[in-house]
Amino acid sequence: MKLKSIILALVLITSFNVARSQESLFIANWSIAIPVAELVDYTDQPSFGGFNIGGRKFIYDFVSFGGYAGWQLYHDKSTGLHAVKDGLDIWGRKIRHLNIYPIMANVHIYGGQDGGVRPYFGINTGVSIVNENIQIGLWEVSETTGNYTLSPEIGVYIPVGLRGGGLNLSARYDQAFQSSNDYQIQSFIINIGYGVGY
């Protein structure tokens, strides 16, 4: 009788399979960006228009390699006099859009246990394709540049449910270095997303 109880208890416990060993993680995030440093001269408003999707492959239980791609939109609008250069002034409604498309590789180191809450930190590196569009009245100028980007990140992955899914929260600092454009793009990004482990 006692043996039967033990066997029954073991069967019940193993049938729940809550913690499945994770080999890969696929995450989609909504990103909020706050401009800092030189980018504040372009716009001081936070950007709520952004997302990124990526994947991570665990080579050890506590280390993953992966990458992500995404999009972030900065926007600025002002009406007034703009000094374009010496000897040229333009008054009107100036609208600026800055679309940033990062394509990054990354490595992350995790704490916690597989299947549980996993804080992590890591580094992202790659290129950001930056398209700047300036419109004044009926006139429009657009420029696209590629900028080397470095981005340290910290975050936490919180499992939700029984199928390997979980909530991803992270913060990172994006440093897109100046290239043929004339300023660096620096921002503080907050990611809120959902991931699926498999």
């Binding site: 939109l73 008054w91 009107g92 699926v196």
Partner: protein
Amino acid sequence: MKNLILILLAISGLLYGCYYDDVTTADQLDVVATSYNLEAIESGNFITYSIPDSILHHDANNDSDHQFDQIILDEIKQNLDDYGYTEVNPSLTTPDLIVLPEVLTNEQYEWGGCWDCWYWWDPWYPGWGWGYYPPTPGYVYSYETGSIIITIIDQNAIQEQDENSKALWVSVINGVLRQNLTKARINELIDQAFVQSPYLDQN
């Protein structure tokens, strides 16, 4: 995986709604640009000017509207007078400056339509599905733009026949021509051209 796709679509939909709708009226497309030679303006002692009694229209179809011509001339003269300049009759007195107002109109054509569209329909309803749908018809639309160009030239440079001389000051006022364009708006834009040029003030 299905859940992740739905979440991605939801994010896309939300972000599409986040794209800014920046221009809502034609007034917001009005622009006043001024190009100037500051050194020449500050070094010259300009007091008098002459201005034609009509405006030159550059118009391919020769059908541009002349209803604002006198308004434009009067407002230019008012601003120059406020800045301490005096209008003279060029047949009696040689002016320091020559002021040339012009109007340029142009018709712009744009096309629109969706030639290669993928549409999403809710796959959970029977009879609909993902896929490619026939293109919607294209369309062409046009709009007319207008520019008021005011050029101020140093009379001395013309007399010396200096081929390399440039205008002292050029103002281009540009926008979409529209039914509700008023005298007040024209005056406001011409005033703006002079307000943003305080170096012209001789007072």
